[in-house]
Structure formats: structure tokens, C-alpha cells
């Protein structure tokens, strides 16, 4: 008598992720605009969470008194960190604008025009980077010259 048995779920037949060649496989994958958006979103996201730790750490000498705080602040206002601040602003802009694009794609039927949205986010981002950057860092720019 034939017993109808459900086939057990096995994962042996699933093609395993090729760990040896994953770099070349990923690099050879043809990337469209959306792929680049995903890659840049991931890179900027990791960078921003790393920056968050540095940002909170920079306030930690508040518990060690004014001298320690001023010494730390002198490090964080050096030209090297000023340049990093501009990078940070660019990363924040890309991550938030592309994030808004992702929300539109998910919740406002934006998948139909996700490529246009990606290009639009770049245009808005560059305008905001130059415009808001000039306003917000007017003090720093003035100090440069």
C-alpha cells in the first residue's frame, strides 16, 4: 500500500553560495542603476553607523572636565576631520534621499519610475550638498580663506 508521505524538506539540492568566487561573481553581475543604488546605500549605511560611534565618543570627554574636552575638540576640528565632515554630509544626503526613494518604491507604487527617482535623488542631492553645505559650513569656509 502506497503511503503518501510528504517529501522532507532538505536543503541539499539548493545550490550553495559559491564562497570561493563570490567577489568575481558579484563583480561580473551586470549592474543596473538600482544595483548601484543598493550598493551605495549599503556602503553609506555601514559608514554612517561607524560614524555614529565616533560621534558619541567625541562627546565622552564631557565627563573628564573642560581641559580634556577642549583637547579632544581640537582634534575633531582639525582640517582632516573637516574634510570628513563634508564626506559625512554627502553620505547622509545620499542615504536619506535614496531611503526616501525606497519608501516611495515600497509604499507609493514608485517601482514604475524607480530609475527616474534614483536620478532625481542625485540631482536633489547635489543641489542640497552645494546649497545647504555652503550655508551650513559658511563659518568653516570663511576660516579657510
Amino acid at each position: 500500500m502506497e503511503t503518501e508521505s510528504k517529501p522532507e524538506t532538505t536543503y541539499h539540492n539548493i545550490q550553495t553560495f559559491d564562497q570561493k568566487n563570490w567577489i568575481s561573481e558579484n563583480l561580473s553581475y551586470k549592474k543596473d542603476l538600482g544595483s548601484w543604488a543598493w550598493i551605495l546605500h549599503r556602503i553609506t549605511g555601514i559608514a554612517l553607523i561607524g560614524y555614529l560611534f565616533l560621534h558619541v565618543y567625541s562627546l565622552s570627554p564631557l565627563t573628564e572636565g573642560e581641559v580634556a574636552f577642549n583637547n579632544k575638540m581640537q582634534v575633531f576640528t582639525s582640517p582632516f576631520f573637516m574634510v570628513l565632515e563634508w564626506f559625512l554630509f554627502a553620505f547622509v544626503l545620499f542615504h536619506s534621499l535614496n531611503g526616501i526613494r525606497i519608501v516611495i518604491v515600497d509604499w507609493a507604487d514608485g517601482a514604475k519610475f524607480q530609475k527616474q527617482l534614483y536620478k532625481l535623488s542625485w540631482v536633489i542631492g547635489i543641489i542640497l550638498f552645494l546649497g545647504m553645505g555652503a550655508i551650513m559650513f559658511a563659518h568653516e569656509i570663511k576660516n579657510l580663506f
Partner: protein, 74 residues
């Protein structure tokens, strides 16, 4: 469900981030000296908002890792 929270926290972080940037860079009155920072920290609302901001950012940043830990448990 977590992806929905990821979208919501992301949108909230955009709002927080705009406020943070305007407060810290646009207003000349909000100084970055030891006294100015400590004086700001005295306001409980400022601390509540700051803590919310950091908590949301940490959740938003480590959501993937939380998901991975949950998957390890089951």
C-alpha cells in the same frame, strides 16, 4: 515586519537629522564649547530627543544583525 519598522525609523531619522543639522550648524547661537554643550544637556527634553535619536539610529543600523541573531536562536 522589521522592514516596515526599518522604513518608519528611516523616515523619522531623516526628520531628526534635518533638525540636528540645523541646530548644530545653521544656528550660530548653539555653540560647541564645553559650557555650551553642558548647558544644552541640562534640558531634559534635549536629552530625551537625543536618546531617541541615538536609539532609533542604532536600531536602524543594526536591524540586520538583530534579525540574524533571531534566526540563530530558532
Amino acid at each position: 515586519m522589521s522592514w516596515v519598522l526599518q522604513r518608519i525609523t528611516g523616515l523619522a531619522l531623516v526628520v531628526f537629522m534635518i533638525g540636528h543639522y540645523i541646530l548644530m550648524h545653521y544656528q550660530p547661537e548653539s555653540g560647541h564649547t564645553y559650557g555650551a554643550v553642558l548647558a544644552r544637556m541640562q534640558f531634559s527634553w534635549y536629552r530625551i530627543i537625543d536618546l531617541t535619536f541615538i536609539t532609533l539610529a542604532m536600531y536602524h543600523g543594526f536591524e540586520r544583525h538583530l534579525e540574524y541573531l533571531q534566526r540563530l536562536q530558532t
